[in-house]
Amino acid sequence: MNMSRFVKTCRCMLLLIILCMTTGCWDRREMDDLALIMGSGIDLTDSGLIEVSYQIALPTGIPSAVKSGGSQKQVVVISAKGNDLQEALGRIQQQMSRYVYFGHREVFLIGENYARQGLNQVQDLFTRFPETRYNSYVLTAYGATAKEILSTPYPMELIPALAISKIQSSRQSFSVKFDEFLEAFASPGTSPVTAAIRIIHKGTDKESVAIDRAAVYLGNKLSGFTQPAELELLRWWIGDPYRLSFTIQAEPEDKDYKGTISVKSSESSVHVHTRIVDDHPEAKVIFHTVVKVVSNNTRLNLDNEKNRKNIEQQFSRQLQGRFEELLTHVQKGMKSDIFGMGEEIHIEHPYSWKKIRGSWAEIFPAMPVQVEVEFQIEQLGKTHGRAYLEK
């Protein structure tokens, strides 16, 4: 490279750099200028105002090896009210010395009242907002406002929002991420569903949170919550069917034995088959699972093939019943197609779907759905019989 070419290159580079600088699009932000939002929530107050709450991490409160961990606060919850979402967001920024940064928001909470009123504003704001993390978890507050949940301390973690996110990311929890939630919104053949979070031990010093329900939406409005017992089934059907656990009363309880058998699944799957009979959709859902026995509190010896078959049948029957209950609750009670049956029909019968798609909300609650459970015990645990079983 000779000198003149070098100078020329430098000039071009300078021009390019100036060009980039003059756009004013500079988003350099130092870490200590950011308010790291760990969780945010949205509520509807009794007076009809919208309240936005942020749980913000305070990095100075995080104990490190150098600093002796004082009793400083690790998080602060800030909230503001407004007539609409934009106004509330504007007011909250007025209280903030730092730039509100959503890059690390792990959970997004929807207050129960707000959810019942409709989510269109949230949906729009968050789909437009470039910093939104689509892999953050969406939860609906059950029996509480989002602000109350965000203000609840969690004993095991420094930052409560991280605790919620950790609970959700464990595969044994029912979780819905933002992208899945929005996709369900957009798709006519599926209704949105989120996990539901509630405060436990309220009013005591052991206050904490638990996620044991699912919030079922119809359109953009919350239509109800499932029961804690239904969550495991929901996980099997639409969530991650990882290590599902079930217990049945195999024998009546007596003074020595409780008579229960508990199992954990090692692999589970769902197959949905849809049919169109006289322009009316019907569905058959086959649940298949392979389990291992984790505890056997009965006199039955499961080494015996007959016993085992018997237990398998008992389980299938019981699970079938529970699934039917869930279906009745969600399909008939809340009229919401969180299972994505419409999507299934769309895939399997695209031409018929076109005809019924417009009236799917009315058709779904009346659709006959047949449930079948295939249950198979594969492993009996480390000891086949009970170690203390009398010879």
Binding site: C20, M38, T60
Partner: protein
């Protein structure tokens, strides 16, 4: 362009005036010769002009630099045979010539000189000149003092396994070190001279039939073209004959290790030895050569491969780690895991400077410490590391001026830059770090990406004496990768000469 520069060089005239052409034939009269020598070497207190009678009766004059000759050799090899009576007595000039030519041991290398210019040149290079009354020829004897030091281990290229001695400042010794390892007449050594005042001897070493003859010619052409007063170190040559003097990357390798030089010669490279410098230049080299050490070939190939990858990885760290850190923490905070973000944010909480300023302060301090470590006398050198580590590191963090994470980043970067075996490559990578940091601080990862791309474009454009700098990766030769991306076992590697021959 160079000729142009020369014309305007204010020192050019002065330099040529320092050494007037003495275009005088040698006179038959000793007196004239003495006068001429006295004129040329006026004010040289170390010049000895001694009259003596040789072979019993012939008047003669010996001229030499006292400081440049070996006293022992002077007495035993030169003066003693000269002082003996010749049998039969010398009567004619041709007899004298005969006697001088054959009557001495070969170590003094007698030769005949005809011209005063040649005589002056020989005297300054340490030879002894004998004028004999009545002869229009002078006789030169090489009684040079063997001014050299012991061979010891090169401190900059230490190895765990491998030969311990390195090149020294004496060219003849360096050549001997290579000859000892390559016992073939195909090992060629061609001598050139450069520098109008220093008259430095430069030897080009290569193996005929393996090295590319056109590269040899090109090197010779470039060295002959050097127009300088002095060549005091091989670094002068490196810069003067380089294809890309404006590139930070070294297109020649300087080494002090004979084994490394020999290995390179076998690969078809050329070595340029400069008298007075222990650093031998090896060329042409590729980018990957900067990450190879002689020891790679002495240890197990698996371990050598691991070490090479470690060097590549840490070379990347040395170049880009501070900039990645700056880009990610000031532009892309969402890329950092949440818990790490909190720790980083906590560390930054009290720091008054932006990350780029912090990083620049610490990087500059580190470079200063490194330079100070070289300059300081050895016993004091220890204190510098303590001052550097404790005072600047710990105190700055505790005072809340610099965040602890920056100290970690700068330390890793510092260590990384010492992992690169070739000091030239290490310097290149250290200097690139700074523009990359500025780019990262203005444009984030986008800027860093652009910076790295510019470097890549620059690298693939470089050539070292016709060999693409990034070869064998770009342009790719699959067989050549055996000695770049990994160090293949010798069984596979022994076939490689075919591919490295250009």
């Amino acid at each position: 362009m160079r000729a142009n520069k020369r014309a305007t060089d204010p020192f050019a005239k002065k330099a040529s005036a320092l050494e007037p052409e003495i275009d005088i034939e040698i006179s038959e009269r000793m007196k004239d010769n003495k006068k001429c020598i006295a004129q040329v070497f006026a004010n040289c207190c170390d010049l000895v002009v001694r009259e003596l009678l040789i072979f019993g009766s012939m008047p003669a004059v010996v001229v030499y630099f006292d400081v440049l000759i070996d006293k022992q050799l002077w007495d035993d090899g030169f003066l003693e045979p000269l002082m003996q009576e010749a049998t039969p007595p010398i009567r004619s000039l041709s007899q004298l010539q005969e006697q001088l030519k054959y009557g001495f041991s070969s170590i003094v290398q007698p030769s005949v000189v005809m011209n005063m210019t040649e005589i002056a040149r020989r005297i300054v290079s340490g030879e002894t000149i004998l004028f004999v009354e009545g002869s229009a020829q002078a006789f030169a004897f090489s009684l040079k003092d063997k001014l050299n030091r012991a061979l010891d281990e090169p401190s900059t290229e230490a190895v765990i396994r491998g030969p311990r001695y390195g090149f020294i400042e004496k060219m003849s010794i360096n050549l001997a070190l290579i000859r000892h390892r390559l016992r073939t007449p195909r090992l060629k050594t061609e001598k050139l001279t450069a520098g109008s005042l220093s008259r430095t001897d430069i030897t080009i070493v290569y193996i005929e039939g393996i090295a590319d003859q056109s590269v040899v010619e090109e090197v010779k052409r470039r060295i002959t073209g050097i127009d300088m007063d002095s060549i005091l170190e091989s670094g002068y040559i490196e810069e003067l004959i380089s294809d890309h003097p404006y590139s930070p990357f070294p297109v020649m390798q300087a080494t002090q290790r004979p084994d490394m030089t020999t290995g390179s010669l076998i690969e078809g490279k050329i070595a340029v030895i400069t008298d007075g410098s222990p650093m031998v230049l090896i060329l042409p080299v590729t980018f990957w050569f900067g990450f190879q050490s002689a020891e790679d070939y002495y240890m197990k190939f698996m371990f050598a491969t691991m070490l090479r990858w470690l060097r590549y990885l840490f070379a990347f760290f040395a170049m880009a780690l501070p900039s990645i850190f700056i880009a990610v923490t000031t532009f892309h905070q969402e890329m950092i895991p949440t818990s790490l973000t909190l720790s980083l944010a906590a560390a930054r909480e009290v720091v008054p400077f932006p990350a780029i300023v912090e990083a620049l302060i610490m990087e500059t301090t580190f470079e200063a410490l490194r330079e100070a470590g070289i300059r300081l006398p050895r016993p004091v050198g220890q204190t510098i590391s303590i001052v550097g580590a404790l005072v600047i590191g710990q105190a700055a963090v505790q005072a809340g001026i610099i965040s602890a994470t920056i100290i970690i980043v700068v330390s890793i970067t510092g260590i990384s830059s010492f992992l690169i075996p070739n000091p030239g490559m290490s310097q290149a990578i250290s200097i690139i770090r700074f523009p990359l940091m500025l780019l990262a601080a203005t444009f984030g990862l986008y800027g860093l990406g652009i910076g790295l791309l510019v470097i890549l474009v620059h690298l693939v454009n470089l050539r070292s004496f016709g060999v693409p700098y990034m070869s064998p990766v770009a342009p790719i030769t699959v067989n050549g990768l055996a000695d770049t991306l990994w160090r293949a076992p010798w069984q596979a590697l022994k076939k490689r000469h075919k591919h490295t021959r250009h």
